[in-house]
């Protein structure tokens, strides 16, 4: 099962037999008040720095979210997508819960985007999946509905299956273009939540076989040592079947853990990428 994303000139393939797809999470104003103010004033310059930092951290893709209240999110997202594509040839994950913003972002995008995201709610599926089909994009599906984020793997798998079924059967989207988010929750609030996420990943891998991505930084929210937690969590999740994450690509500790896991799981032939990264680091110092 391969999910293929493209920019104008670069292709990324997500799959169990591929190196893990690192999607940089940083271009997102949530919790960044200065960035919010800048965006509200139409100043997109911080994006340049964020793209550079994530590309330097070897992100495979970059997520772009422009959720700033009291603004025209569609216009902002469309401009941000265009700007990001000028700054990097990494494929983009277009991130919004506003349908018009997704539409504007997709229209501005050159290539094959990953859309973040749709829930299992009928009205959301009906609003977003036709856009995904029309723009020949891939979609991230969140297995939650209007009532709840399910706290057990059974219900998450059930809702994930619903999203895959509706996307493929009703909208003609290829199975490989549906990427499921098994939902990562903060370990600080409840120390059982990561076990549930890992179980969900294993079951989706076996029962649906689709690619998966998640917001890895959620796991360490409110805890000290966030990089160490990310570096421990992602290899576990990869071993269970996770094939991508929206994550802190600026953290060498986390990215290195992911690349080590690529090698250990047999997705870095002869350790070529691992050795090349080592050599590059030697030349830096």
């Amino acid at each position: 099962m391969h999910t293929t994303l493209r920019s104008a000139s670069q292709e990324v393939v997500i799959g169990l037999d591929r190196p893990f797809c690192v999607i940089g999470e940083r271009i997102n104003p949530t919790g960044r008040k200065v960035f919010q103010e800048q965006l509200r004033a139409g100043d997109l310059s911080a994006i340049e720095r964020d793209v550079a930092a994530q590309v330097a951290g070897e992100a495979d893709m970059v997520d772009v979210n422009m959720g700033v209240p009291l603004t025209d999110e569609a216009d902002l997202l469309s401009r941000a997508v265009t700007l990001v594509q000028k700054l990097t040839d990494k494929p983009v994950c277009i991130d919004s819960s506003v349908v018009e913003a997704l539409e504007a972002g997709l229209a501005a995008y050159e290539g094959r985007a990953l859309v973040n995201s749709v829930t299992a709610e009928d009205d959301r599926l009906a609003a977003i999946l036709p856009l995904v089909k029309r723009h020949d994009a891939a979609i991230i599906g969140l297995p939650n509905d209007a009532d709840e984020i399910p706290m057990d793997a059974d219900r998450r798998v059930e809702l994930a299956r619903k999203i895959v079924d509706v996307a493929t059967k009703e909208y003609g989207i290829a199975t490989e273009d549906v990427v499921i988010d098994p939902l990562a929750m903060p370990i600080g609030a409840d120390t059982t939540v990561v076990a549930t996420t890992l179980e969900t990943i294993r079951r989706i891998r076996i029962e649906l076989g689709v690619n998966m991505t998640l917001g890895a930084s959620n796991v360490s929210f409110g805890m000290p040592g966030r990089h160490a937690l990310g570096a421990a969590f992602l290899p576990m999740a990869m071993s269970a079947g996770l094939t991508s994450a929206i994550m802190d690509a600026r953290s060498p500790q986390i990215v290195e853990a992911v690349r080590a896991a690529d090698l250990l799981l047999g997705n870095d032939e002869w350790g070529a990428a691992w050795i090349a990264a080592h050599r590059a680091k030697l030349h830096e110092t």
């Binding site: 949530t30 959720g67 939650n144 209007a146 600080g188 609030a189 120390t191 409110g222």
Partner: protein, 221 residues
């Protein structure tokens, strides 16, 4: 154990979130004839304030705040009926919920803990609370303050939807509306027409007290 030992013990054990010890010390204190409000105001609340201060400083983390809150809640369950008997009034009733479409509850739960610690009676409606649920709950509980929490920029517009629903039900003037959550700003809080905003849990308690005092002063005049 002397009453001073009890107070010191309650303070220390709440700080580290030792719920069984806090409960035992509370019961021992009562058996020694200590007043419930002494236990609350001279040990439990100061301890929780210290927890809050450490959290704001980055010295304490989410699990520590949660277990300290749980330890205090255990003591409050014993103390609450006694406080009611002795005529100690609660600060006021605070109805709280995370808005529809949003499932984030850590911040909201921390605010609840701080509010309870400050003497508010907190009614928590949980997450994904639809406007009509807020309206029903305001009718049922007649809170002094209702708080809307949102963690996502995309769910913040529900503040306005909730306010409209209160307006439509003719309840808007009967209740103080506070909003909060990571992406919320004072500017946004003003734009949607709420009465108050605070950036963190302890600031929320302070703001809630101020708003309540203002409201009561207006009603008294």
């Amino acid at each position: 154990m002397t009453p001073d030992d009890i107070l010191q013990g309650l303070y220390d054990q709440t700080l580290v979130g030792n719920a069984p010890a806090v409960l035992e010390l509370t019961n021992t204190g009562l058996q020694l004839g200590m007043q419930p409000q002494t236990l609350l105001f001279d040990a439990l609340i100061p301890s929780l304030e210290e927890v809050g201060a450490r959290f704001e400083r980055g010295d304490f983390f989410v699990p520590e705040m949660l277990i300290a809150g749980r330890a205090m809640s255990g003591a409050l369950e014993v103390l609450r009926p006694l406080l009611a008997e002795t005529g100690v009034e609660t600060m006021g009733t605070f109805l709280m919920g995370t808005v529809k479409g949003d499932v984030h509850d850590i911040g909201k739960n921390l605010v609840n803990i701080m509010l309870e610690g400050a003497g508010f009676h907190v009614i928590d409606l949980g997450v994904q609370v639809a406007p009509e649920k807020f309206v029903e709950a305001v009718k049922e509980h007649s809170p002094d303050i209702v708080g809307f929490s949102a963690f996502l920029t995309t769910t913040m517009p529900m503040f306005k939807a909730n306010l409209n629903a209160l307006e439509k039900a003719g309840l808007r003037d009967q209740v103080i509306v506070m909003v909060g959550g990571a992406p919320v700003t004072q500017e946004y809080a003003d734009a949607v027409g709420s009465d108050g905003y605070a950036a963190d849990a302890s600031a929320t308690v302070k703001r809630a007290k101020d708003l309540l005092a203002q409201r009561r002063a207006v009603l008294a005049s």
